[in-house]
Each structure stands twice: as C-alpha cells, then as structure tokens.
C-alpha cells in the first residue's frame, strides 16, 4: 500500500473501469433477474409495465423443451468436466513422459483448435457429420448423425471436446512441469512399473490441476452456445437445445412472438446454477483449508 488512508485521487484510477463494469455487466446482470418477473416482447419502450409474478417461471416449468434444455446443459457440462478432463489428463501424461522427439509440435497441434472460433469449428464438423459427409463415407454408413435425437448431444459434446482438449492439456502441462520429480526417481529405485507410477504418483500429484481443469470446463460448459447454434440450431425439434440456446430462441428468434420475459427467466436459472456452483466451490475450498 502506498498510502495509509483512502485518497480521493484513487477514484481517478478506478472510475473508468468500474463505471464500464457496472453499466455493462453488473446492472444488466441484476436487471436480468428483475426482468424475469415481467412480460415483454421486445417492442415496448417500457419493459417494466406488465408485472406477471412467477408466470414466466411457470411457463418454462411447464415447457417440456425447457427440461430437455436443462438436461442437455447438465449432460454437456458432465461431458466437459469428466470426459474432456479425463482424456486431457491421460493425453498430457502420455505426451509428457512419452519421450517424444517432437513433443512441442504435438502439443501445439492438439492445442491449435482452441484459438479457432467455435463457429468455424462447428461448421467444419457439420459438413463431416452430414448425411453425405466424409464420416459416412469412411464408415460405409448412410446415417444422418445430427438428426438423431439420442446421439446429437453426444456429438456436440465430442466436437466441443475436440476443440478444447488442448486447453486442458497445456494446463496439465504446467502442472506436470512443476511436479516434484524426486518421487518418481524414488519409485524407480523401489521398482514400480509405469502404470503404478502413473496411477499412484502422477495422477494424485496432479489432483489440484485436475480440479482447476474441471472448474474451467464447468464454467465453459454453461457458456456453450455457438457450437450448438451452428451445428444444429437446437434441433432436431429442440432436442439438442441447451439453456443458452433456449434463451436465445425465446428472446430473439421466435420472429415477432418473442417472449423476452421467458428468456430472462431462463437467464435467472443459468445465474442460479452458476451461483450454486460458486458457493459450493467456496464451501469446499474452505473445508480443504481447514484440514
């Protein structure tokens, strides 16, 4: 601290950033919560005219597509948190300890999709998964992958994993590089084999990094919109809708019959999910600290 007390000039440093942050982040965030109790379509000037209480929430409660979207969001988050992190864990250990000649190049290749726009990635995969796409030519099938109600969410999860696995990989790499190598050397003297070393030493030591990756993927999972939008637009018949795309559908793409209040109540649900996770995370980390 440079000064012992609050100085007026501190505000000069702070105000521009805080003003923008409040106006374009905090205030819209809170307004969104309030708006979920109002009915508006996007053509009024006064959004707060028609108070409807919990009607919007009842509407989404009764909408079967909301529950599909909610289920899909959790499925997507599950895929990102467990499948994606798991694959990245194995892959990073293999590349790191595998004595590859071109390990830096390998890492760069797997990382590369992270810098692409999800829109570009979605469109690349869309053509591959189409009925006359290359996946069917390779497999000798004639299957419309993205029209399958049971498979479509898993395909979206797969494409998302394809794009973001390199991100988890480089974070694991940072964890591996700061790992204590002496334990491995000691286990060599004790005659541990490679699988024992990985499962009893490396993976437990990487646990903090795994938690970090899971949290990042959890947050990212709730954010997913672009990939769903370009791959399926929530189809077939809303069966691949996630909360974010469901919100978009109700608020902006229902063409004149927009129910933005309903959209706002979906935003409320997303907000509540993230908040629950944030609180859970604080409680868990406090418990770990107490130990």
């Amino acid at each position: 601290m440079i000064y012992k007390t609050f100085q007026f000039r501190t505000l000069l440093y702070l105000l521009p950033a805080v003003f923008i942050f409040l106006t374009f982040n905090v205030i819209p965030g809170l307004t969104s919560l309030v708006l979920s109790f109002f009915d508006f379509t996007g053509f009024e000037t006064n959004l707060f005219r028609k108070f409807v209480g919990f009607d919007n929430f009842i509407k989404i409660y009764e909408d079967k597509y909301f529950w599909i979207a909610l289920k899909n969001t959790f499925l997507f988050v599950f895929g990102a948190v467990f499948i994606q992190t798991g694959i990245a864990l194995i892959l990073s250990i293999f590349i790191f300890f595998g004595n590859f000649k071109f390990s830096v190049l390998v890492r760069s290749i797997i990382f590369f999709p992270c810098v692409l726009a999800p829109v570009s990635v979605g469109l690349v995969w869309k053509k591959i998964l189409e009925q006359d796409g290359v996946l069917n030519s390779i497999l000798g099938l004639d299957y419309s992958w993205l029209s399958s109600i049971s498979l479509v969410m898993w395909l979206i999860i797969m494409v998302n994993t394809w794009q973001w696995i390199g991100y988890n990989l480089v974070i694991y790499y940072a964890g591996l590089q700061s790992m204590n190598i002496e334990l491995l050397e000691a286990s060599d003297i004790d005659g541990a084999n490679w699988s024992q070393k990985i499962f009893s030493i490396v993976i437990p030591l990487l646990w903090p990094t795994t938690i970090l990756n899971m949290i990042l993927n959890l947050i990212g999972g709730f954010r997913a919109f672009d990939i769903v939008y370009v791959l399926t637009r929530g189809g077939p018949a809303h069966y691949s809708e996630v909360l974010a795309s469901y919100l978009y559908y109700y608020s902006f793409s229902a063409g004149g019959h927009n129910k933005m209040g309903v959209g706002a109540s979906v935003a409320f649900v997303i907000f509540a999910c993230i908040l629950t996770i944030a609180i859970a995370r604080i409680i868990v980390s406090k418990r770990i600290e107490r130990r």
Binding site: S32, S120, V124, D226, Y248
Partner: protein
C-alpha cells in the same frame, strides 16, 4: 533450452517400459489424426474443382486442384450477405483492436488501485468481479440489448465494444492485479522514498515490469473478442458491420444452401489467417492461455 532438458529428465523414468512406449505412440498418434483430419478435410474440399468435389483419393487428396471455390466464396459473401470477406475482417479488426485497447488501458489503472491503493469496499468489488468472470455472457444479453438501444448505439461498433469491455474488464483487472502484487514491495517503496508520485510509480516502475502480464491479457482478450459470436450477432444486425464469425455462421447455416466447395472455402478463409498468426506466436498463445487459466 531449459524446458527441453526438463522434459527429457522427466521422461527418463519411463524409458525402460516398452509397453508404455507403444501405448503412448498409438494413443497420441490417434489423437493427432483426430485433431488434424477435420481441418485437412475442409482444406481438401476447398481446393477441389467443382466437378470433383465429392470424391478424392483417401478422402483427402483432390483429383483436381482449383481455387475456384475461393473466388466463389468471396463472390457469394458479397452477393448474398451484402458484406464481403475483407469487410468482415475489417469489422472484426476494428472491434477487436478497439475493445482490447479500451479494456487494457482501463485495467492498467484500475488494477493498480486494487493492488497498491486503499479505497472502501475494495475486496467486495473485487469479489463481484471474480464472480462475474464465471457468468455466461447470455445472462446479460436481454438487458444489454435494451441498454444499447437506449443509448442509441445498437447496430454500431460501439455497441459491441462496450459490451465486450463490460464483460471482459474483470479478466484484465484480475491478471494485472495479481501481477502487480507479485512485484517486490522494495521496488515501490524505493520509489516512494525517492519522492515519486503514485502515477510515476505506476508508469515508471510497475508498467515496464508488467509487460508479460499485459501480453497475456492481449492474447486472452484478442481470442475472446475475435471469436465472440452471440453479442456480435445480436448487437450488430446490420450486415455491413458483421464480424467474421457472424458472417461465416450466416453463410454456413443459411437456408439458401451454398455448395460444399464454397462452404469449405468460406470456412478456410476464416481459419487460415488464425493459423498463420498461431504459427508465428504459438508459444505466446500457449503461455498466455495457461497463465490466464491459473488466475482462477
């Protein structure tokens, strides 16, 4: 290279097991193919001549090379979307460069207040910022839309730039605050003893040392704003100011099907520049995204 020797050292412990050697080769090769194939395939589609677009040797090698698809892609964008690819790139460049500049220039000062100055409600405000990083952008979508209409800047660059600034400023402040606080206390103290003002301390002591942190911010913010889709789509519906992802999404998901060659060429037009930038700055990208993640 320190890093390279370290890697060899770590791997030494696993050198004597042939099974591990074989498994790693198979698994890693498998993933490399999975990662590369979709991109190579799209590239391959885009350079096939229109007559041979549905067939190729081993799915990848075209029978007949042609850049016709790229010409078609440029023409198609201009005629159907009313915005050409160069214009989309210009729009994206304007939005990205202005938002990144705005966010970083404000974060530099605000993070200094958080790290070196005292003010009321400091930690509460900081916690709100941390919490907002986890919030999905869609939560703010509807109210932001109306705020931007109310300000009369919907369908302009400013709409998206300000929305990005509000959404991403916490990231800049988080990273820079953490970095400022890692700078040894003795340095700022020495400056204060010599009679430097807080502004001079920031400009002459902290900022020159904070260059790596600023580079990290630039990379993270560049990727976030360049690739951003939903705000750009909804706040700038006027076709002439579409950014690259919005224009591309329109081409790729429009009801008037474009043919597969044009489609692939359009996708490649958006991927190739990023590929070149990544090839040049890959170490920065990887280091930046790793550092950005560790802030959580």
């Amino acid at each position: 290279m320190v890093e390279a020797s370290k890697i060899n050292n770590y791997g030494a412990s696993f050198k004597r097991s042939p099974i591990f050697y074989i498994i790693t080769r198979i698994v890693v090769l498998f993933f490399i193919i999975i990662i590369i194939f979709p991109l190579l395939y799209t590239l391959s589609l885009s350079v096939r001549s229109p007559e041979t677009v549905y067939s190729a040797r081993y799915f990848l090698i075209p029978y007949e090379f042609s850049f016709e698809n790229y010409i078609d892609a440029f023409v198609n964008a201009e005629q159907k979307l009313k915005v050409s690819f160069p214009r989309m790139f210009l729009n994206s460049a304007v939005v990205t460069s202005l938002s990144v500049t705005l966010i970083i220039s404000m974060s530099i000062f605000a993070a200094f207040a958080f790290s070196h100055l005292r003010f009321p409600l400091k930690e509460s405000l900081y916690n709100v910022m941390i919490a907002s990083v986890a919030m999905p952008a869609q939560v703010l979508l509807i109210p932001l839309f109306y705020i931007l209409i109310y300000l009369g800047i919907i369908n302009t660059y400013q709409a998206v730039i300000l929305a990005y600034a509000g959404f991403l400023i916490p990231i800049g402040i988080l990273i820079l605050r953490m970095f400022y606080e890692q700078i040894p206390y003795e340095l700022t103290e020495a400056g204060t003893v010599d009679g430097a003002s807080d502004f001079q301390l920031l400009m002459k002591v902290l900022l020159p040392l904070a260059k790596p942190a600023i580079a990290t911010c630039v990379i993270l913010l560049f990727l976030d704003t360049w690739n951003e889709f939903i705000y750009a789509m909804i706040f700038m519906q006027d076709p002439t100011i579409h950014t690259v992802p919005v224009g591309l999404a329109k081409i790729g998901t429009s009801r008037y099907q474009v043919n597969i060659g044009t489609y692939s060429a359009s996708v490649m037009i958006t991927i190739i520049p990023v590929m070149i930038i990544f090839a040049v700055f890959q170490r920065w990208f990887i280091a930046g995204m790793t550092m950005g993640a560790l802030k959580h």
